[in-house]
Assembly symmetry: C2
Homo-oligomer: 392 residues x 2
DNA sequence: GGTGATCCTGCAAAGGTTTGCAGTGAAGTA
DNA sequence: TACTTCACTGCAAACCTTTGCAGGATCACC
């Protein structure tokens, strides 16, 4: 404890007196139901009464107890957001977008981190279930069947995972991986590695599938390395393996791993992009700050957060839980629509990719060190990046 | 909407039938109170009954309704964590540490982001107040008096802000700023800028105070620039101003700003550390990944998160809110102890600082580009960084 | 057989709010 | 004046759980 210094003082302080609807009723001389209506259905109460009640409430510092309200209405006006790893810069923009969207609709967002642990994930859904009106599951690591099961406990919207029967928000990483591979093949790379992420990641499987197909189509060989932790450490740990594999280019599961890999290669004396090209996925802020600046597949994280919240709230207003008249006998099926939204991705070419062993000697490399125009693929570079938009 | 692709299907699915303690009671042929006790005081119920009840509960998929429980016990077993900006890499380690500490004590953490907005902050405290047992306020942007006022509504622990009468967890940025300035002075800098952060930040005031004193003591001149947004953008936006000010070294409010500043200076053709030295604060992961690697004041974020949770839970177990026997007449003062903990900081010297105009020519600069040993100040470099530990 | 202790369980109130229903008084209409 | 309509307000049940109190059964012991 040599590192800390503690000061302690004791003080007498007024206890927090919880002021309830009763106190307001007493103070303003009306029944509690009138006070209740003043807040939840103002048009039903006489304007004069209303102002009086509001004044008293303000005076006493009354705040409706949301827990008690939720108990009877069945809606908490909270939504839960379960995230694999807050420390991954991929998520904060998603979180912020979700929060601002929710706030506009008078909902609050509770964020929880699972440390990439499926068990923690399940536990959190249970814990959140009764305290929120719905849960956003971002990049879940549990099984599809478990997710389906949990969805009977609380409305769920899944991000970065396809679960049939549930609303999903997906990013077209398949298209992204294809663009990346085509970009690399176009640069003259014929031996490419895919640096995989977590085994249970939908994104991971999707990338693998698409990258494999694209490599085959382009006459290149794809080596799959992994699974790895989707972190900087996971990336740098794989550097040795990448060198030994003898590939001239790598597509990493995400930017964090790509950056870690570049660090690792650097430590081994392998230069990027001169000896090995590296492409990431996500386009996190950081990818513009490292040297070399990272070529990456940009994913629309903000849009994903907003869309997911919209879908959850829509589903939610359609079928309120705990509705008053719903007797046990009426527990028939509820008709509900589930949509799956696929968001497009864009290849952003920066400085971590360069010509490979089979490059045509004509075209000189044109990747200046200047300010980054954040150019999506296409303009000037003839990859098929913006080809046939989105598949199903 | 050309960027998205939507698939919609409709399905009939069993509605989520909320199973309550009643259902379990009926199924297992006991009174609801026995079921309740089975969960909250198992030693009070006959082992045979217990297993039967548990079996039924398991069967029906019963989960206690935490909201209803909270209504009567007055404790939710949740704590709230209010953060100025989740996108700032400074916070995730703190969040993770807080979560894991809370989990060990059977508490859940709800994180909320305020976007550096004091109004959102206040609103969030209100919204959280009745749904959590206490709130951790991290780097708050509201006024001390408002914080004190809010603390009467819900137990509060404040991080990175000193509020008398409230438990606080502070990082000794004063000491950090002093070490940084001494380091710079030692390198021969006599004209130094402090790139300030948000006006309402306690850290900001503290750094300003300490840096001013240290500069005076070292015979250097300190120019204060700001306030600025504590982000990468805030830093790069200040580059021009820094150049015009003619200083040879800058201490930035945090790493994000330092990195932004380096980018900005780079764009202006000013080299770091050859022409200008830059020091950050926080030691976020990113600071090891940029080029040049950042010299920075490391703050113990994980320890802060853990300590804050401990303090909150301790204060909380001492004086449970909404206790049964507490009539309105008994609302006398509650004796409560509030501690203030000061956590030590460390200067980490990397590659963004170099000799200044008044450097003694003898000592050559020894800062190789190799792997970063994460050396805290002291070893080999005669600054007063590890001088008189912590002040009061 | 009586006494007391021990163990388990049921009863019912409580916590803060919402809401269907019924009741009040006043205004409007014939 | 009698009747309808309307706007407003009060009553009380309901949401799901916890918990102090008391009752019933069992057992040991004298």
């Amino acid at each position: 404890m040599g590192h800390t210094h503690v000061t302690a003082t004791t003080s007498d302080e007024g206890a927090a007196v919880p002021v309830t609807i009763r106190d307001v009723a007493r103070a303003s001389g009306v029944h509690i139901s009138t006070v209740s209506r003043t807040f939840s259905a103002p048009h039903l109460v006489n304007p004069e009464t209303r102002v009086r009640v509001l004044a008293c409430a303000e005076d006493l510092g009354y705040r409706p107890n949301r827990a008690a309200r939720a108990l009877i209405t069945g809606r908490t006006h909270n939504i839960g957001l379960i995230i694999a790893d807050i420390a991954n810069p991929f998520f904060p923009p998603l979180i912020k977008a979700a929060e601002s969207q929710a706030r506009h609709r008078d909902y609050h967002v509770f964020v929880a981190d699972t440390n990439e642990d499926p068990t923690a994930e399940e536990e959190l859904v249970h814990a959140l279930a009764k305290q929120v009106d719905g849960v956003l599951l971002c990049s879940p690591r549990m099984s599809n069947s478990l997710i389906e099961q949990l969805s009977r406990e609380v409305p769920l919207v899944v991000v970065n995972r396809q679960v049939t029967g549930l609303p999903c928000v997906l990013m077209d990483v398949g298209q992204g991986a294809r663009s990346a591979i085509e970009h690399l093949v176009g640069l003259g790379h014929r031996s490419i590695a895919l640096l995989g992420g977590p085994r249970s990641s939908w994104t991971n499987r999707e990338m693998r599938r698409a990258a494999g197909a694209a490599a085959r189509a382009g006459g290149a060989e794809l080596t799959v390395l992994g699974p790895n932790a989707p972190t900087e450490t996971g990336g740098s740990a794989a550097a040795e393996q990448v060198r030994r594999s003898g590939v001239s280019a790598v597509l990493a599961y995400n930017d964090l791993m790509a950056i870690g890999l570049i660090e690792g290669l650097d430590a081994l004396g392998v230069r990027v992009p001169q000896e090995v090209s590296v492409v990431g996925v996500d386009d996190i802020t950081l990818s513009r700050l490292t040297r070399p600046k990272l070529t990456t597949v940009a994913t629309p994280t903000g849009a994903a957060g907003r869309t997911a919240v919209d879908m959850l709230l829509q589903q939610d207003t359609e079928s309120p839980r705990g509705a008053r008249g719903l007797g046990a006998g009426t527990a028939l099926g509820v008709r509900r629509t589930t949509a799956q939204v696929m968001l497009q991705t864009d290849l952003v070419i920066r400085d971590s990719t360069g010509p490979g062993p089979h490059a045509r000697p004509a075209r000189p490399l044109a990747a200046p060190q200047g300010p980054d125009p954040h150019c999506p693929a296409g303009p000037g570079i003839p990859t098929a990046a913006t080809g046939d938009a989105v598949a199903s």
